[in-house]
């Protein structure tokens, strides 16, 4: 693969972190560029992604500065589409297994992650979702995990691990700082409940996946905590 790959990202975005994780785990060369999503540059909206969101990949075309994107590069958006794209670009990386049944299991995990983790967690954080749905969702995901598993599916790091770990990390920020628009104390309570034996399998997997070098490299713990406290401040 000699085509250039530029990832437009933001360190606060769990979705762009998914793409970074997959790139690093695949040992893929890439250029990362942080876009100020709170104050979008005009060139980003007109030349890279009309919806203005990260992550966006610009693939191929001439070597240019990220803030002077070429019309000749292919623009790819939507975090799960990007994860599949990276697995296609790097078929021997293990990002997706080779056999069809195992690939389907990774995709079922991605689907469960969207419905059972992403939706309930951010609804809870934003004050619109229930505490119970977060726990129910974690139980669903836990059902996919093998006992003592290093990885979400099979014996190698896949896009399943990349897709869930940014959200697990943010769940931990919520349970450690209580930041969020839910009633005060519910974040701490969530953390306490997750420490119980019922969630042991999930907690073990979570501890492991957050220890990976690729994860530590791409997660700004302080930045996310500060952002959550400010953006999701409780009404007084």
């Amino acid at each position: 693969m000699s085509e250039q790959l530029t990832l437009y990202l933001h360190t606060l975005s769990p979705y762009s972190q998914k793409a970074e994780l997959a790139l690093i785990e695949a040992n893929a060369p890439y250029t990362g560029y942080q876009v100020d999503v709170f104050n979008k540059p005009e060139w980003f909206v007109s030349k890279v992604n009309p919806v203005g969101k990260v992550p966006t990949v610009a693939y191929g075309g001439p070597s240019v500065n990220p803030d002077e994107p070429s019309a000749a590069s292919s623009k790819i958006t939507e975090s799960n589409v990007i994860l599949e794209f990276l697995a296609d670009l790097y078929p021997n990386s293990g990002l997706l297994p080779k056999d069809p049944v195992s690939r389907s299991k990774v995709r079922l995990f991605l689907d469960a992650n969207s419905k059972s983790i992403e939706e309930p967690l951010y609804a809870f954080l934003g004050g619109a979702g229930s505490y119970e749905n977060v726990l129910k969702g974690i139980e669903v995901i836990q059902g996919f995990l093998e006992e003592d598993a290093d990885f979400a599916v099979g014996v190698h790091y896949t896009i399943a691990d990349a897709s869930i770990s940014p959200h697990i990390a943010r769940l931990r920020v919520i349970t450690e700082t209580d930041a969020g628009r839910f009633p005060a104390g519910m974040g701490i309570k969530l953390g306490e409940e997750l420490k119980g034996p019922k969630f042991a399998k999930f907690t073990k997997y979570a501890d492991r996946v957050l220890q990976r070098a690729s994860f530590k490299q791409t997660f700004d713990q302080e930045g996310v905590a500060t952002f959550f406290k400010a953006f999701y401040a409780r009404a007084q």
Partner: protein, 239 residues
């Protein structure tokens, strides 16, 4: 290369299930087809095949058993889009997955657009949900047309892919509903939707959907009478 047995649990009315049937037809794959009556599901279906109790589902591999007696040894898979990718992986010669990773990504993005901008509005329209307006349907049509390249037969290029497979069953059902006036919406909404589509700006979209409906794998898996009958029973006729 011989594959393991495939048993597909499906329903003629269901657009999600038809996606899987089209993919199997494109692949020329042998499989056992089992119709699930969605209004009266067999009590063995959730415990033995799909705990979510939905169609489509596939039981793959394991011993050769009757569909009503699915073996614990077969792998159970669900979710229509995952099943379509599975069939593409099992049968690469079907061509439903483009060879080029960028075109694959374009196909998957097209599918995202169908899922977020078209299919939710289709069900809202059919069921008479006040958000299911002619305008909402046209948002979906516009979003899809914006993605269609010029001068090619299908959504990504001249090849029929997972993108087309994802969209065709939904378009076909909306088309039946609006042509026949079936659904819990006002007849005025239906007429003005059809009128809007006559605008020359939708030429590319109209050409595309005509090709979708003409595709053999679509025709052989679409049961218009069943769709019309069940939707009429469920939603009635437009007033």
């Amino acid at each position: 290369m011989p594959h393991e047995q495939i048993t597909l649990y499906t329903a003629k009315v269901c657009p999600y299930a038809q996606r899987t049937e089209i993919a199997l037809a494109e692949a020329g794959a042998p499989f056992k087809r089992y119709e699930i009556d969605l209004g009266n599901k067999p009590e063995w279906y959730a415990p033995k095949v799909n705990p979510a109790s939905k169609v489509p589902a596939i039981a793959y591999g394991g011993p050769d058993v009757p569909p009503e007696n699915a073996s614990p040894e077969s792998t159970k898979l669900a979710e229509s889009l995952i099943l379509v990718e599975f069939i593409g992986d099992l049968y690469p010669s079907s061509g439903i997955l483009p060879a080029d990773p960028v075109q694959r990504a374009q196909a998957r993005f097209f599918i995202e657009t169908v899922s977020t901008k078209f299919s939710p509005n289709f069900m809202k329209f059919a069921s008479g949900n006040p958000e299911g307006t002619r305008a909402a349907l046209l948002v979906g049509v516009d979003a899809i047309q914006d993605l269609l390249p010029d001068g090619v037969k299908y959504a990504v290029n001249d090849q029929y892919t997972i993108a087309d497979i994802a969209f065709a069953p939904f378009w076909a059902r909306l088309n039946v509903l609006v042509q026949k006036g079936i659904g819990a919406y006002k007849d005025e909404e239906r007429k003005s939707f059809l009128k809007a589509l006559e605008d020359p700006k939708y030429a590319k979209f109209n050409g595309y959907v005509q090709r979708l409906l003409a595709r053999q794998s679509f025709k052989s898996t679409f049961h218009e009478d069943v769709v019309a009958g069940i939707f009429t029973k469920r939603f009635g006729l437009a007033k």
